[in-house]
Subunit: 198 residues, 2 copies
């Protein structure tokens, strides 16, 4: 309940602007789109556009969702198998994303052609890694730093692949894509273990 009505409206406007940006970029090409045009399409003044985003690139990426707080806390306090709790945490995160396939699609497509957009996305992903590392630090305080780092990396790389698969095909749910990715990674893990054992 911490999202006030104002915050809610704020998010909506931010989304409207992002949507406008992506739509115009798709229609005319990112470089042809002016901030004025975006503002107009979104139904706000140019000034307001800049109240929300520092530039077109930022607008096209929007304000991506972090890990859901609630699930994060559950994870940090969790006591089941680590991999299981991790899967739950990620599932909660995926759920948030699930109904933005169209936006994701445009965003990723855009990132392919525009480094500055791609960089923003990468930065955001890096932020998620940090977030997960922080949670892992609480969940397994005694584990060495680099283990947590690799683990967080591992999971979020999976997320990235899953999202890419998902936006590429409309018959697969994000959850399914992630599950598949997770399985692939698990198999890799097994192989690594075999070689260690052998």
């Amino acid at each position: 309940m911490k999202i006030s009505l104002r915050e809610k409206r704020r998010r909506q406007t931010a989304l409207d602007i992002q949507r406008a940006t992506l739509d115009l970029a798709r229609e005319y090409g990112f470089d042809q789109v002016t901030t004025d045009a975006i503002a107009e399409r979104a139904g706000v003044s140019t000034r307001t556009f800049f109240n929300y985003y520092t530039n077109k690139e930022a607008a096209s990426v929007g304000h991506p969702l972090g890990l859901p707080e609630e699930a994060k806390r559950a994870f940090e306090a969790g006591n089941r198998l680590l991999s299981e709790d991790l899967r739950n945490l990620m599932a909660a995160h995926l759920e948030q994303i699930e109904d933005m396939q169209d936006i994701m699609q445009d965003m990723i497509r855009l990132a392919r052609d525009h480094d500055r957009v791609k960089r923003l996305l990468d930065q955001f992903l890096a932020g998620l890694v940090e977030e997960l590392k922080a949670s892992l630090a609480l969940r397994m305080p005694d584990a060495p730093d680099d283990l947590r780092r690799v683990l967080a990396d591992w999971v979020l790389t999976g997320l990235g692949h899953a999202i890419t698969d998902w936006v590429g095909s409309d018959h697969m749910s994000l959850q399914a894509a992630f599950k598949r990715e997770w399985e692939v990674q698990s198999r890799v893990a097994e192989i690594l273990l075999e070689s260690r054992d052998g």
Copy 2:
């Protein structure tokens, strides 16, 4: 261009509230719906609800569109056959309404069961009649008052029927419904003339 960004947003909010009202009424029945619930569904505070509408009934009817100013002026200055110019004026008005079939549907259904809503709708229709009378007064200043009154009545009764037909069946366009109604009325007019002649 007279609609500022603020005015635009205002209209959107007014629409959101109306939509919320109609949706909730459909889901739970008009009488079970509280203003609080409407405000929450619409994403505004209760106070804001009352900034837009004086009560539930008003919210469910919204701020219906009057005759489009531009077309009205064209009509007033028109010099073709009166019936022709009238049809054009109405066509312009219908065009405005065309893409609100869902709202209309809920509104009319609601009006069937709720006198206070029905009264508002009737009042609104009466307002349209006045508007048209005023335009007719400019278009044909020399015609007697009661002739203009009957004419305006005649046209807007037709509009009412057309809208009812339209919301009742989704395969017919509003324009088509009005055309059909217009033809029926024309036939009636012919019959009246015949009897006069005979």
